[in-house]
């Protein structure tokens, strides 16, 4: 056991309790937040301070580690029953039984130690445990004591191996008896001469090697520094790919690919997407560049490539991304980009399984890219039983802006879930075609107000002549006045936005409309027209409203004036805002 340098008093024990409580909280917090998040930074800062305070009053901190606690002088200073956040068990399970933090402990060493605790046990397949990692981190002021039983429990007993060596070494050998040899010399002079010869020969052969020369030192430095620049992981990947490229035996190619596959799957589990991308790129390059003497070579490589995006791998990637929301997604995107059309369905499946928005967004962007060439594959997913998948697919189709996508969006627009129909409306608005305008008009009668609203907005956004014509036909139809006033207003706004100039003529026509039998409904429609004018160009709207304001209908007159006032006030507000934004706006520059 590491020796305690002193007995701690109550105050010191209390400080140690706070210190290790702080360590546990820091580990827990940093697991939840990105490393540079301000919350995590505050915890680090507090921990640094506590370590510094403790080490200023205590000559080294020695703690005993048990399964669920840290103790000091038989006093428990940290305890946890948690299965997930117990830092004592993280250390104990790999055999650490005591730790000593000594004077000179730096903040860098503390941060590294916290980092090791955070990463401990995350990767079941890791080559190293926390004991190895602490050693490799070379933390000068943190020493651990590790039990031997755990270390060597499963391997062949050293004692029995030693016996084996002694037995093996002694086979046919002399024990302590005389040595039957021709070695002995009776002549001291002759002995001396042979010794001199031996020394001279050795010094002649090796004499120049016994000391480092300046040239040696420079050569060593170059060897080592050149080697440190190497990316060994890339070297290995390139080597495996080169072996694939030059292998002449199908059997041996199979062996190479088998190993590559095992490594590949492990890389997915580790989230090494940059390396995975290199492998897939390499395989694609091989497939395009190599002249295969036998179809079997090509088939093997193609099979490998297809496995990169098969359901097994896609599920593994999904799991990895769900468990590690902080994953760098750029290489993930590159990886997806390299997968073939065969993987599209699996990627769409994945779309419904990804738990974190960032990853979903990346996948959607990729599917948009891929969807441009494979819209039928993407579109087919509108039949997926999961509403959220259909919603995402609707969004992806919209972002492709391909007219071929409208048919799938029409299907999505009939989905039972209104969240899907809303997304369909938004996506239809991105595709300029008569069919999409038609589909949006169809949604104007949707049972859901939110869907209708999305359809109106969609139509407003759709800069397509078909949309204007369909809206014009709608608002000039006899049935238009039968709609709810708000619905009428929304459609009129959509009409104005789809084509400003022509729409004003239509609005003027509507204001001129009269009917004895439908007087009340016509008036409600005209009210909607007047209020919709707020969305029109200010000058043109002013002209129309001025005309209405001088009409004989006092109700409409009053309403037109109110709208005029609102337009004016909106305009003034906008001007004031613009002038405050300009560099000279608020500084009296006009003077």
């Amino acid at each position: 056991m590491l020796e305690h340098q002193q007995i701690y008093g109550p105050l010191e024990l209390s400080a140690l309790k706070e210190l290790f409580g702080s360590l546990a909280k820091t580990v827990k917090t940093v697991r939840q937040y990105p490393p540079h998040h301000q919350v995590a930074a505050k915890f680090y800062e507090a921990l640094h301070e506590r370590f510094a305070n403790c080490l200023s009053t205590i000559e080294g901190i020695s703690i005993e580690v048990s399964l669920d606690s840290f103790s000091c002088c038989d006093e428990i200073i940290y305890h946890s029953d948690s299965l997930t956040d117990n830092i004592a068990s993280l250390l104990h399970r790999d055999g650490i039984r005591s730790i000593r933090f000594s004077h000179g402990l730096t903040n860098g060493e503390i941060d590294r130690f916290v980092d090791l605790l955070i990463r401990a046990g995350r990767d079941d397949e890791a080559r190293v445990d926390i004991v190895n990692e602490i050693w490799e981190a070379d933390l000068e002021h943190i020493q651990c004591e590790v039990i031997d039983d755990l270390e060597y429990g499963e391997i062949e007993d050293a004692d029995s191996l030693r016996e084996e060596f002694i037995e093996e070494g002694s086979k046919g050998m002399s024990d302590s008896g005389g040595i039957d040899t021709h070695l002995w010399s009776e002549n001291v002079e002759e002995d001396q001469q042979r010794a001199r010869n031996q020394e001279e020969t050795a010094r002649f052969t090796f004499g120049g090697l016994v000391r480092h020369t300046q040239a040696d030192l420079q050569a060593i430095e170059k060897l080592v520094s050149d080697d440190r620049k190497r990316d060994v992981k890339r070297d290995v990947i390139n080597l495996l790919l080169q072996l694939c490229a030059y292998e002449k035996s199908v059997h041996d190619l199979g062996l190479i690919l088998e190993s590559l596959q095992a490594a590949y799957d492990r890389l997915i589990r580790n989230g090494s997407f940059a390396t995975l991308t290199e492998i897939v790129s390499g395989i694609i390059r091989l497939l395009s560049e190599r002249n295969f003497e036998s179809d079997r070579f090509e088939r093997r490589l193609k099979e490998f490539y297809q496995r990169c995006g098969d359901m097994v791998r896609i599920k593994m990637i999904t799991k990895r991304l769900n468990e590690n929301p902080e994953t760098d997604l750029e290489p993930v995107a590159q990886y997806f980009r390299l997968l073939g059309w065969e993987s599209l369905n699996n990627m769409i499946w994945m779309l419904g399984e990804l738990e974190h928005y960032r990853a979903r967004r990346v996948l959607c962007d990729l599917l948009v890219e891929k969807g441009k060439n494979q819209i039928q594959l993407i579109g087919g997913a509108v039949y997926d039983s999961r509403w959220y998948v259909v919603r995402n697919v609707a969004m992806i189709i919209g972002e492709t802006e391909l007219a071929e996508g409208v048919a799938y969006l029409q299907r999505a627009a009939r989905h039972a879930d209104d969240r899907v129909r809303i997304e369909a409306a938004r996506s239809l608005a991105r595709i300029e075609s008569n069919e999409s305008a038609e589909a949006l008009i169809g949604l104007l009668d949707d049972e859901s107000e939110r869907v209708r609203s999305a359809a109106v907005n969609g139509l407003a956004r759709l800069k397509h002549s078909g949309a204007f014509e369909r809206l014009r036909d709608l608002v000039t139809s006899e049935q238009f006045a039968d709609r709810e006033q708000n619905s009428m207003r929304q459609l009129l706004v959509a009409l104005i936005r789809s084509d400003g100039n022509e729409s004003l003529d239509v609005l003027v026509q509507l204001l001129k409309k009269s009917s004895f039998f439908k007087r009340a409904r016509i008036r409600r429609m005209q009210e909607a027209v007047i209020t919709a004018l707020e969305a029109a160009d200010r000058t043109a709207a002013e002209d129309i409203l001025t005309a209405v304001a001088s009409s004989s209908d006092s109700h409409l007159r009053e309403l037109a004036r109110k709208v005029q006032t609102r337009i004016q006030s909106n305009h003034s507000r906008k001007q004031a805002l613009d002038s405050s934004k300009s560099p000279t706006g608020s500084g009296g520059g006009d003077q």
Binding site: R127, D129, E136, E154, R162, F165, V232, S272
Partner: protein, 493 residues
């Protein structure tokens, strides 16, 4: 008597203090031995004798100004001065060995001089020692009683030490720890290689701990581990060879100034450099005769199999990637020759170049299953040096020679005076004069070997005391080296 009669270690001594004690002890042992030998040859009135007596008295009086009493005591073949083991102090011809043999004949473990002993007392003591050493059956009690009856009160004899009751000193512990690490490495490697051979995933954290332990020991003092590379076991050839290559590589890497974590990665790569052999049929691996061309073709595949085995069974991190490259490249020469032969050019990894050197050296010096005739390290190094620039990197080869010295651990030497010695580590100052264990002479092998520094010089003439007559092959003499390498284990078990 104030002294503790058992050797009590003084672990708080610094290196410098330990060295100072060691030097004082060496001077005392030399002078006492010379005095006793002179007593044997001359009358007490002889000038020569008088001179040696005076020198001894001067020296002890000088030493007694620092200590109330000074002791010389033998234990496990070593001499201890005032409870501190003397460094590099035992050879068949030197004064320390003379004392060790004398004490053994008398059945005592040593002598204690107290402040104020007289000329008469030392003379009487010498007479008794000389007389009783000629008699059979002398033991501690006989000598003690004889001294008491002669009125010698300020020079006492120490009782024999029961070995098991004596604490190990630091070097013993280090040697033992090195052996433990070595066997753990071999044992662990067997387990892991078996798993890899059957393509099962392996747990490597324990292997990594063993390697860390090797790195720590090499950085502390590489001689204890280097000494163990002399062990041979043809049944476990691959594991022992791989462990040796691991030790050599880490030692070489340490001399290149690699960082701890890099040494760990290097050790890992070296340990698994032959992992591809697990994929070869045992009848080929263990074939006692030369290989056929087909068998050679298979053997030439083991680097590729090594790369693939590691890729298949281990996680892909920088350390395992290094191991893959080393497994693949360790038979590739720097001029592009070697195997596997490739249709594309590669720049060899530094670790591969290091392991290639260590691999060839260990293989040629230890012999293999298919060629058991081991070559002498001196011969192998000379041959390897002739291949720099084609097979081996010149700089690394030079550093390797410096690392293991011209006479690497495990080398058997014939010394002047017909003594056989086993090299246990590089010399302190002179690469041509290593640390050795003298394990026998023409009368036979010693039960317990004695350590000796071949760089020791005669104080009077300034000449080297010991000379290397030649390097000898263990098989030439049928000497079982392992018993001497594992000697400390024997002593402590």
């Amino acid at each position: 008597m104030k002294i503790d009669r058992e050797i009590v270690l003084t672990p708080t001594l610094s290196d410098a203090e330990e060295q100072r004690y060691s030097d004082q002890g060496r001077r005392l042992a030399n002078q006492l031995a010379i005095f006793l030998r002179t007593f044997k040859l001359y009358e007490s009135t002889n000038d020569n004798y008088r001179k040696q007596l005076q020198l001894l008295r001067d020296l002890t009086n000088d030493l007694l100004t620092e200590h109330l009493e000074v002791s010389l005591q033998a234990q496990s073949g070593y001499l201890f001065y005032c409870s501190v083991r003397m460094r590099g102090e035992r050879t068949p011809n030197d004064n320390s060995h003379y004392l060790l043999e004398l004490f053994e004949r008398l059945g005592i473990s040593g002598l204690v001089f107290e402040l104020g002993y007289t000329e008469e007392e030392i003379t009487r003591c010498a007479e008794i020692i000389w007389r009783l050493s000629q008699q059979d059956g002398t033991d501690y009690d006989i000598v003690r009683v004889a001294l008491g009856e002669a009125g010698v009160s300020k020079i006492e004899v120490l009782p024999p030490i029961i070995e098991t009751s004596v604490e190990m000193d630091d070097k013993y512990r280090q040697r033992r720890f090195a052996q433990q690490t070595f066997f753990n490495a071999v044992g662990n490697l067997k387990t892991v290689m078996h798993a890899i051979g059957t393509s099962r995933p392996v747990s490597l954290s324990r292997t990594t701990r063993v390697i860390h332990s090797i790195v720590d020991q090499v950085l502390s003092d590489d001689s204890y581990l280097l000494e163990l590379t002399a062990l041979r076991d043809f049944d476990e050839y691959t594991f022992v060879h791989s462990t040796n290559v691991c030790i050599y590589s880490i030692c070489l890497g340490a001399n290149l100034g690699l960082m701890k974590s890099e040494l760990s990665a290097l050790g890992f790569a070296a340990l698994f450099h032959d992992v591809g052999k697990t994929k070869l049929p045992l009848q080929v691996l263990n074939k006692p005769s030369d290989f056929t061309e087909n068998e050679w073709e298979l053997m030439r595949k083991h680097p590729t199999y090594g790369l693939l085995s590691i890729a298949k069974t281990m996680p892909l991190d920088d350390t395992t990637c290094r191991a893959m490259l080393v497994a693949f490249e360790h038979h590739s020469n720097i001029d592009g020759s070697g195997y596997p032969s490739l249709d594309f050019k590669r720049n060899l990894n530094l670790f591969s170049k290091i392991v290639a050197i260590c691999d060839v050296f260990d293989a040629l010096t230890s012999g293999r299953v298919y060629r058991r005739d081991a070559r002498s390290p001196e011969y192998v190094l000379e041959t390897m040096l002739s291949e720099v620039g084609t097979k081996f990197d010149e700089t690394l080869m030079r550093v390797f020679v410096r690392t293991i010295s011209v006479y690497p651990p495990g080398t058997l030497l014939l010394l002047n005076g017909n003594r056989i010695a086993l090299v246990i580590g590089p010399g302190r100052d002179d690469h041509f004069r290593p640390m050795v264990k003298v394990i026998g002479n023409r009368k036979g092998l010693f039960e317990i070997a004695e350590e000796l520094d071949l760089a020791d010089k005669d104080d009077a003439t300034g000449e080297y005391i010991h000379q290397i007559v030649r390097v000898i092959d263990p098989r030439e003499t049928n000497i079982d080296v392992s018993r001497y390498v594992l000697e400390s284990w024997h002593n402590e078990s």
